[in-house]
């Protein structure tokens, strides 16, 4: 195309073209900068916003902080979308600039009376070839040298596949933590080691009769009643009881059943003068104690926490406030390293608290969102780290066992949540009645692997191996699931309800129903009932296993069951 432009017009076109070209270039550079910003900055990672969020988590009732969090969140999102708008608008501007530039150049080009410049002296073909060869060799050399350099530079940045690099040895020094093997003697928490429902050791009795005394090594009346389960360290059994406001911790000789000492857990500053509102059947002594072999710690439904040494001498005690909830307080304690971990559930506040077990000093507290629950914390080991996992409502949440920092969270529960989670080496299983069973893949970006709602317990906690998940419900149903895929492998209906949690010991599942009959089943893919042994007393507590003996708390008595 050809227009007859004057020289002045051409000058104007050239200026316009240069402006448009420069403009397009500036816009392109700005867009690249904005894009880098967009890709690298997460709007919600603003440190100020995170700091205010932390403050709000510690004091959720503060309306001004809530308003600040909302305002900051909105501001961060607005800033992000402003950047987006800039990039979007920039693409229009870039295109516009490019079109103007192209058009002006086209017009200038067509208006120029381009005549082929008459070439000067014709180049000698020999010289052309010679130069071309030279350039080609230089190019090949440059490219080859670059490639050789790159091959060495890139190799040094590759991780060592043999795992023998300096980094690797550093990593080996910081070995990832894995779940300790359950001890054959010590049974330190509710549901044993890590509160997982797996007992160590082997050769546990399968047949006994509490009425005839068959295989009952001894039977001791617990001074005051309670729903807490026994825990064991060396030759000592620890259990709690309460009557009215009077709370006590008992140490019982594992061999004879003799009461070694009683620790009083009442009269602690801050404890309420009246019994908190709770289920009439529950009482103050529902939570199971925890021990690490040096200290023994107990918590009661009036908010009293107390710590003794193994000889019954009080080390420290405090009241952390009455947990207010419909049924009372039932969360048991666990200990990780020197931290006593307390799951606190109340209408006023839900949290998980870490106390220095030596001094009782509060090391950290992490507020938990949602409604109060009656489950207990469980220690799981994922991503090489010890994690405190709580079956909450609505979230199943994992916390760093040392710092209390939240690691991951999955929203999946509703209603009254009482069962604790089950864990194996890969998964976490959360369940509650009238809701569902959810198998969770833990870790960053935790998600639900599979779900089911056919068998859901209301009190009893599930137990899992790497292959199977076992559930005993409040209706008397027992179900075995494929832990990885969620298929129901077998089910069996027993006549009575299960409140106590099942424990796997020596590849057998011990399930005791509320009437006191222990059902012993093979922990395998086929249902096989090994034995059914009655205690002769109603049972809601979870048994403890130690050195080939089983310790069971009935409504009134504590039993030691032994084949010998």
């Amino acid at each position: 195309m050809k227009f007859d432009f004057s020289e002045k017009d051409i000058t104007i076109l050239k200026v316009v073209s240069q402006i448009a070209g420069g403009f397009a270039l500036i816009v392109a550079l700005t867009m690249i900068f904005s894009l880098v910003q967009l890709k690298t900055i997460n709007p919600l990672d603003n440190p100020v916003l995170l700091s205010i969020k932390d403050q709000y988590d510690k004091d959720p009732g503060d309306a001004s902080k809530a308003a600040m969090v909302r305002a900051m969140d909105l501001m961060a999102r607005k800033a992000y979308f402003s950047s987006r708008w800039q990039v979007e608008t920039g693409s229009y501007l870039l295109l516009g600039g490019a079109i103007i530039f192209i058009l002006c150049q086209r017009l200038i080009s067509d208006n120029e009376k381009r005549k082929p410049a008459f070439p000067g002296t014709k180049a000698e073909p020999v010289n052309i070839q010679k130069n071309s060869r030279r350039y080609l060799l230089v190019a090949a050399t440059v490219i080859s040298l670059t490639a050789i350099s790159a091959s060495f530079i890139l190799r040094t940045t590759l991780p060592d596949p043999s795992g023998r690099s300096g980094f690797s040895s550093k990593a080996n020094n910081n070995e990832k933590e894995s779940a300790p093997k359950p001890d054959k003697s010590n049974y330190p928490f509710f549901r044993g080691q890590d509160s997982r429902g797996i007992a160590g050791g082997s050769g546990y009795p399968t047949e006994w009769d509490g009425i005839s005394g068959k295989n009952i090594a001894w039977k001791t009346e617990v001074p005051q009643q309670g729903k807490s389960s026994p825990v064991i360290w060396d030759d000592k059994i620890f259990i709690t009881g309460a009557s009215g406001l009077n709370c006590e911790v008992y140490c019982i000789d594992k061999k004879t059943g003799a009461l070694l000492w009683t620790g009083t857990a009442s009269g602690i500053a801050g404890e309420p003068a009246e019994l908190p509102k709770m289920d009439q059947e529950a009482g103050l002594s529902v939570s199971t104690v925890a021990t690490n072999g040096t200290e023994i710690c107990a918590v009661f439904a009036n908010g009293n926490i107390i710590c003794f040494n193994m000889e019954g001498k009080q080390k420290w005690a405090k009241n952390i406030g009455v947990p207010e909830s419909n049924y009372g307080y039932s969360s048991s304690l666990i200990i990780y390293e020197n931290i006593l971990i307390v799951q606190y559930d109340s209408r006023t506040k839900n949290s998980v608290i870490g106390f220095d077990i030596e001094t009782g000093e509060q090391k950290w507290e992490t507020i938990r969102q949602g409604r109060p629950v009656w489950s207990s914390p469980v220690l799981g080991y994922f991503d090489g780290k010890a994690q405190v996992i709580i079956n909450g409502n609505p979230n199943v949440v994992s916390y760093d066992a040392l710092t209390g920092n939240e690691l991951w969270s999955v929203e999946c529960m509703t209603g009254d949540v009482a069962p604790s989670v089950a864990v194996n080496s890969k998964m976490v299983f959360a369940v509650t009645d009238y809701a569902k069973l959810a198998a969770i893949k833990p870790g960053t970006g935790a998600s639900i692997a599979w779900e089911d709602n056919a068998y859901t317990p209301d009190v009893s906690s599930p137990v899992a191996t790497d292959d199977y998940l076992f559930i005993s419900t409040g209706n008397g149903d027992v179900a075995c699931y494929n832990a990885e895929k969620g298929d129901t492998i077998w089910t069996h209906y027993f006549q009575d309800q299960f409140y106590a949690s099942p424990v796997i010991a020596d590849d057998l599942i011990y399930l005791i129903d509320r009437s006191g009959v222990m059902h012993i089943i093979e922990a395998d893919s086929k249902f096989k009932l090994v034995a059914e042994s009655p205690l002769g007393e109603r049972v809601d507590c979870t048994p403890a296993f130690s050195d080939k003996k089983i310790y069971l708390r009935g409504k009134k008595y504590l039993y030691c069951i032994s084949d010998n």
């Binding site: 050809k2 894009l35 490019a98 067509d110 082929p116 073909p125 190799r155 590759l158 998600s447």
Partner: protein, 434 residues
């Protein structure tokens, strides 16, 4: 009256020449809305809500695929006629507009002969992949036309060439040294593209196609910016993608050298007027070579033998270089890069941070499986990469060898390998045939 008729006629001619460019600008404007990507991150629902699975665009019905092949055949035939017989630069511009509209904007740059190289490589080295017939035809037909008539595919059928042809009008010649370095890039690009495709790692030609983001409504902004900047650069350094990147152009270059009937600069006998000598922006005109100043025969013969013997040396050197590069090149494979990311994180003792690693951990696949795959793929790269080096070494050797051969030419001829048959040189030839 005569004046009015004359003005009317001139206006018609002007419009006829301007219209293709108006259509080109309209096509660009129509596709200006390039916002369908880089959205705000998806919300991470904790309620168990499962996002619908991403659905790939539905495959074109087989009938329509063959229709595309028919369009390709028709366009190539018409372009060949326009370039060789009609000698119409304006006609070739119109073909560029059509191809840009059909293969570029309508078919969104896919299926594309340039990318089909990878389908062929994948099919050749992987039993599990069967190349669609339409892809094979898109690969073969332009090459057959090149073998018969030169690079007519580049002249007006390739949408990537068309978009550059329509924007390149202020040609500037690059210094020969730079040209020599840049001209070797397509060979390397082709070697890598075939290597990555044959190892089932990546289709890099498609992934880094600078104009695909303009043809479609979806591409990373960085690629769109790269495409637009390449177009702007192409105003002066014409067809930068074709000359310094296009891997398919390497094959067309080779096939076109043997073209039975190629476009000519002059429609009749060349008078050696030298008017066309400087007009080709692609430096694709070979001047006549007289008998004068010829070297002594022994010298070029020795040179020829030397470079001939150097071909295996170049090939072995290329193989050795690529063998050492193999572990790094294997990182292009997503499984290898994932395995390395996991190992790096383990070595440095940090938690998983990248989305790929997090997604892998959720997949249920074990690290041992992934590391085993990594070893297999790396081993495959070790075996395949040297062949890419051999190809580059032989290409260099043949290139050098060809620069030792001189043949007597009495006229100005297009360099059949480099010539895009764009027809820019037509108007500079003073010889016209009615």
């Amino acid at each position: 009256m005569v004046d009015r008729l004359f003005q009317k006629r001139e206006f018609q001619i002007r419009m006829k020449k301007t219209l293709p460019y108006i259509i080109f600008v309209l096509l660009l404007c129509w596709h200006a809305v390039l916002f369908a990507q880089d959205r705000f991150p998806r919300p991470e629902f904790e309620s168990g809500y499962v996002y619908a699975t991403n659905q790939m665009p539905l495959q074109r019905a087989p009938g329509w695929e063959y229709f595309d092949v028919a369009v390709l055949l028709g366009a190539l035939t018409l372009t060949t006629w326009l370039a060789l017989k009609k000698r119409s630069r304006q006609g070739l511009i119109w073909m560029s507009v059509f191809s840009l509209a059909y293969f570029g904007f309508y078919r969104e740059g896919c299926i594309c002969a340039v990318g089909s190289v990878q389908n062929v490589a994948l099919a050749l080295f992987n039993d599990g992949y069967t190349i669609p017939l339409s892809a094979l035809l898109f690969f073969m037909i332009p090459l057959l036309f090149a073998l018969a008539y030169g690079r007519v595919f580049c002249a007006g059928v390739c949408p990537l060439g068309a978009i550059q042809e329509l924007t390149g009008f202020q040609p500037v010649k690059l210094p020969k040294k730079i040209e020599a370095v840049l001209a070797s890039v397509p060979f390397i690009y082709l070697a890598l593209a075939v290597l990555f495709a044959s190892t089932d790692s990546q289709f890099i030609i498609c992934r880094y196609d600078p104009f695909i983001g303009i043809f479609r409504l979806d591409a990373p902004y960085t690629m769109i910016i790269f495409g637009i900047l390449l177009l702007l650069a192409g105003i002066f350094v014409n067809r930068p993608y074709c000359r310094y990147l296009c891997p398919y152009g390497v094959l067309l270059n080779v096939f076109s050298r043997f073209a039975g009937k190629h476009l000519t600069i002059t429609p009749a006998e060349c008078t050696n007027c030298r008017l066309c000598e400087e007009v080709c922006p692609y430096d694709a005109i070979i001047p006549s070579d007289s008998e004068l100043n010829r070297e002594e025969p022994a010298k070029p013969r020795k040179r020829f033998i030397l470079y001939f013997l150097l071909i295996p040396v170049f090939a072995v050197t290329g193989a050795a270089i690529f063998y050492t590069l193999a572990p790094s090149l294997a990182g292009v494979n997503s499984n290898v890069s994932l395995a390395r990311a996991i190992r790096s994180e383990k070595e440095s003792g940090i938690e998983s941070v990248s989305k790929a690693v997090i997604a892998f951990k959720e997949s249920g696949k074990t690290e041992a499986q992934l590391f085993a795959e990594e070893a297999t793929i790396t081993d495959r790269f070790r075996k395949s990469s040297p062949w890419a080096g051999v190809f580059l070494g032989i290409s260099l050797g043949i290139g050098m060898l060809s620069l030792t051969i001189r043949s007597k030419r009495i006229e100005y001829l297009p360099d059949q390998g480099k010539c895009y048959s764009c027809g820019r040189c037509f108007k500079y030839c003073p010889i016209k045939v009615q």
